[in-house]
């Protein structure tokens, strides 16, 4: 099973309801978002003048870079399939891809709050939640869970439930008869970063000009994973004073960006 979400841009009117419902459901801090709506255009595309939206959220990727980036100690974790009751034990850090429903989740108890996963995500789908700061961290990594607790209770994700245009469709991409699979057959596709092969499971459907505008404006670059790993490594080395580690990491990041910028300018 692989949960996925379709955003139908033919239906979407760009009302932002999805983002606000999510904030309320999961007490997301004002300045952060588990999902977002970027307003695109009007811009001339090869298909004509276009204006559409990028309603983004975690892609619960097939090969999530954020999971790889997590520096927390690995532990054994047993997963249970909600349907069959089958179990599977994996060795995971503080974030993982669920072997049964394909969602990417976080254990905030073990999260170091270093932000390495957020840096690794090319979509900007993760944030460090400052409301969850404690003595050892500035917060905990947070993101869209595809509303796993709601879905397990038999409900739609909050963004799907509130969508006024019926533009958000949630379901199992592995089930060929699901509504989401039908959209994939019609051409819905995920936004793959330049040069990436992540297998995003939030996918977009729309007319040619809107899709052209979406992909030309919203295809991200892969993060500089070297930097992310450096910060993650620092975080594991200096766990008790994680805040300092974060600062050092940020300093390093800033330095690296400066060097990069200078070399680009040359």
């Amino acid at each position: 099973m692989q949960y996925g979400m379709i955003i139908d841009l033919e239906r979407c009117v760009g009302c932002h309801a999805c983002t606000i419902a999510c904030k309320a459901e999961w007490e997301v801090p004002v300045a952060n978002g588990r999902n977002w709506v970027n307003r695109l255009g009007p811009t001339m595309t090869p298909e004509g003048l276009a204006s559409t939206y990028y309603p983004g959220l975690c892609n619960h990727c097939d090969a999530p870079l954020c999971v790889e980036a997590c520096p927390a100690d690995q532990v054994e974790m047993t997963f249970t399939d909600a349907k069959s009751g089958k179990t599977k034990t994996l060795t995971v850090a503080a974030t993982w891809k669920d072997p049964f429903d394909g969602t990417v989740q976080i254990d905030k108890e073990r999260c170091l709050g270093c932000g390495a996963c957020a840096d690794a995500c090319p979509y900007g789908a993760r944030y460090v939640n400052p409301d969850l700061a404690d003595d050892n961290s500035m917060g905990k990594a947070d993101k869209c869970t595809y509303c796993k607790p709601r879905v397990e209770a038999g409900l739609d994700p909050a963004c799907v439930q509130t969508c006024i245009a019926g533009a958000r469709i949630f379901g199992d991409l592995d089930d060929p008869n699901s509504a989401v699979s039908k959209y994939v057959k019609k051409g819905a596709r995920g936004i793959e970063p330049h040069g990436g092969h992540l297998g995003p499971n939030s996918r977009y459907y729309g007319n040619k000009r809107d899709i052209s505008l979406l992909f030309s404006t919203s295809t991200p670059e892969l993060a500089d994973l070297g930097m992310t790993r450096r910060r993650a490594m620092l975080a594991t080395l200096v766990k008790p004073s994680i805040n300092k580690a974060r600062d050092i990491g940020l300093l390093g990041l800033a330095g690296a960006m400066l060097v990069k910028k200078m070399s680009e300018e040359k």
Binding site: E10, W26, E27, S51
Partner: protein, 746 residues
């Protein structure tokens, strides 16, 4: 800002009652410190409270509240709703942040500073109400009831408005929803089809959607959007006439990039084409219209070529749209619009839309204009009294006729403001502002300030410290739509083609009011007691009012609660033309009053050299200026970038994202800044921004100075001659970058 409290800081300041801090992170009563769960538990397990009726806008979706430990965590569409269903928009979802906005008014306040620059002193309700009673009594004693002007808006303002209009007896009431918004549409259609049209177009089942300026997607009303999306999914063609590539234009099959102000000419040309080519519904015209001959004679000058030149669009495209409409008639949805107070020539445009619908036979048919048949529930309010026309500013006593004969209910705003400022024909010295923010709803801010400055007494009732509240002597905190009984929403299933059903859903409180907030019935009744009208008080509380209203349809609050907040009953087929339905293509009453009897295009002032016409519209996350302090909505779209044509911007040296301020042709500066949005999606002769930004109230800590207030720049007043309503799009602006005023190239 209180919103950025970290969890640790929250634990330290847990007693801060007003802060919008999630309660999942509860502090132990014993120790004061408890490790909060790191994962928000989600609101789906919280208690569900039924009975919410949204009023983040005025479409009034049906809600449920998710309540945890007495605190409203989330709002959702009521699953029982046959209107919005479980869906609510961004604003509806953000109602929680209005409810718990730390800037919300909490206590009655007395201004011990100056009007416009208040110093607030907290007073008791007793003192505040005594001051209001005294202030208003002084005015009525000296100047009579006519000395009071009322600026109401919203469900809570209806009861006090009726009190002042009917019981106290002033004509001087100006509702923004009429005089600055949709009043023109309603009276123009009354003069055409005998009734107000609402937005009752059967979009879900139509073959063609025809919008003039209507920008659904940026203008959001949930069930309306559902109909629109359904129509498009069914393959309906969408025609959007708009100078800007709006959210609707982006979904359109045909975008008509029309010159601002010329819409009526466009519609006249379409109609003339239909008439000249015998492509109109001759049977409908024969059976259900009056004045076809005069009408067709009056519009015959509007050839495709003439309209093409006037509207600056291709003649072939006008013909294409006319053909499209004719080919799909009568199943075409000619949208009447909503906010139509545009140019001061708007009554004629709205008449034209009604007449176009008639030529296409598109009344009461599938996909046309179809009023749903909803249930009727009686309201309870103050008894009506006839106060005559002696002090009616809209009455010309010498001519024994109305100045603006097709005015919507109330008195045209400018008549009230001019009278107040000049003192002629009588002084207006008392002012009651209830839920309206005339500083940002009515054009001409400086004029509005003069009106307030000359008052003897000003009282405001609101939930938020909006711009107008700065001008109050007494400011009263009102219970919000989530904390009171009130408005009874009625309607039908959203898709007229579905099983016919009706619903009745009274507003019921989801949580109790905090601090000292009171509702409109309490406040109005207390004023009435102090003004000598105790005997006329129609009802003691909002709950009683709701109970009595529901009794008129054999329902009760208890029954509604048992039915999960919404009563649903079998409905009626809305399709089918009533036999006596008649459209006045040529209206003789209009002609008798000295106006054009057939829809007529009246040109608007041209854009002066170096300027662009200022256009404005709605942001999907805001309702008028009411939601600008809502921290979730603000965060979604913090400012209102000004759209400018890419070629014009290039000549001006402007880049997308540059920071600018705005100055109008009368030298009025925006004061605040915004960014420019450089796009091919707007004509060169206009710029565009979202309305509802740039509050000047220092007490609105989120919305203050965020973006530019378009209303501040609308200082040239156009008055629609038939209705007396405001036209707001005849203002011209330049952009200012780094202190340099930039000409906008033609």
């Amino acid at each position: 800002m209180a919103f950025n409290l970290t969890r640790r800081k929250f634990l330290q300041t847990a007693s801060l009652a007003a802060a919008a801090v999630p309660l999942s992170k509860v502090v132990s009563a014993d120790t004061g410190v408890t490790k909060a769960p790191l994962d928000a538990k989600g609101t789906f397990g919280d208690q569900t409270v039924v009975g919410g009726i949204c009023e983040m806008c005025f479409w009034r979706c049906q809600l449920v509240g998710k309540v945890r430990d007495g605190r409203l965590m989330k709002l959702e569409g009521n699953p029982k709703s046959i209107d919005n269903g479980t869906a609510i928009c961004a604003r509806g979802n953000a109602g929680v942040k209005l409810l718990y906005d730390p800037d919300r008014l909490k206590y009655p306040l007395k201004n011990v500073g100056k009007r416009g620059a208040p110093k607030w002193k907290r007073v008791t309700w007793q003192e505040a109400l005594d001051e209001c009673g005294n202030g208003l009594n002084q005015v009525t004693k000296k100047y009579g009831a006519k000395g009071i002007a009322v600026f109401p808006h919203g469900a809570s303002a209806k009861y006090p408005m009726h009190y002042f209009e009917r019981t106290v007896g002033t004509h001087n009431v100006s509702e923004a929803s009429f005089f600055q918004c949709r009043g023109i549409r309603d009276t123009a259609y009354v003069a055409t089809i005998g009734k107000a049209p609402g937005e009752k177009v059967d979009m879900a089942n139509t073959k063609v959607l025809f919008f003039l300026g209507t920008h659904i997607g940026e203008n959001i009303h949930v069930s309306h959007v559902k109909q629109y999306v359904q129509g498009l999914q069914n393959g309906a063609k969408l025609v959007v006439a708009d100078p800007r590539f709006s959210a609707s234009a982006a979904k359109a099959d045909i975008w008509v990039q029309i010159k601002p102000g010329t819409d009526t000419a466009y519609v006249l040309a379409i109609m003339n084409y239909l008439v000249q080519n015998n492509k109109y519904d001759a049977d409908f015209v024969e059976d259900h219209t009056a004045g076809f001959d005069e009408f067709s004679e009056a519009i015959k000058e509007w050839t495709l070529e003439k309209a093409a030149a006037t509207c600056e669009i291709p003649a072939a495209q006008i013909k294409e749209v006319a053909e499209l409409l004719a080919a799909n008639a009568p199943n075409v949805a000619i949208h009447p619009g909503r906010h139509v107070s545009w140019y001061g020539n708007d009554f004629q445009r709205e008449r034209a839309l009604g007449c176009l619908t008639a030529l296409l036979g598109a009344f009461y048919v599938k996909g046309g204009w179809v009023p749903p048949k909803g249930p009727k529930v009686s309201g309870i309010s103050w008894k009506k009294h006839d106060h005559g026309n002696e002090h009616n500013l809209n009455y010309n006593h010498e001519e024994d006729e109305k100045r603006y004969p097709f005015n919507p209910p109330g008195t045209p705003t400018e008549l009230i403001r001019d009278c107040a400022i000049s003192g002629k024909p009588y002084p207006i010295k008392g002012c009651v502002v209830w839920g309206q923010n005339p500083m940002q709803t009515i054009p001409g801010q400086e004029k509005m300030k003069k009106v307030f400055q000359q008052m003897d007494f000003v009282m405001c009732v609101d939930v938020m410290p909006t711009d107008v509240t700065l001008w109050a002597d007494i400011l009263l905190p009102e219970a919000s739509y989530l904390e009171r009984y009130d408005y009874i929403k009625t309607g039908t299933q959203w898709n007229l083609a579905d099983e016919h059903q009706q619903f009745i859903a009274p507003r019921m409180p989801l949580v109790a009011p905090m601090f000292e907030r009171k509702d409109q019935v309490y406040i109005t009744n207390e004023l009435a007691k102090r003004m000598g009208h105790a005997a006329e008080i129609p009802v003691g509380s909002l709950e009683e009012m709701t109970e009595k209203s529901l009794a008129s349809v054999d329902l009760s609050i208890a029954k509604i609660k048992a039915e999960d907040g919404i009563h649903i009953q079998p409905g009626k087929d809305p399709y089918g033309l009533p036999e006596d339905f008649e459209v006045q293509l040529y209206n003789e009453d209009l002609a008798d009053a000295g106006f054009p009897g057939a829809p007529t295009y009246i040109p608007v002032p041209e854009v002066p050299k170096g300027y662009a016409r200022l256009l404005y519209g709605r942001a999907p996350v805001h309702t008028f200026n009411r939601s600008q302090n809502n921290v979730w909505l603000h965060n979604a779209m913090p400012i209102n970038p000004i759209w400018i044509n890419d070629h014009a911007a290039a000549k001006m040296g402007l880049m997308d994202g540059d920071t600018v301020s705005v100055v109008n042709s009368e030298g009025i500066a925006s004061g605040t800044t915004t960014t420019v949005k450089v796009t091919p999606g707007i004509r060169k002769d206009c710029v565009y921004m979202y309305h509802g930004y740039g509050s000047a109230s220092p007490f609105m800590t989120v919305g203050k100075n965020a973006g530019v207030d378009d209303q501040k720049l609308i200082s040239i007043l156009a008055i629609d001659p038939e209705t007396g309503c405001s036209g707001m799009r005849n203002n011209f602006v330049k952009l200012v970058k780094n202190g340099k005023v930039l000409d906008i190239p033609a």
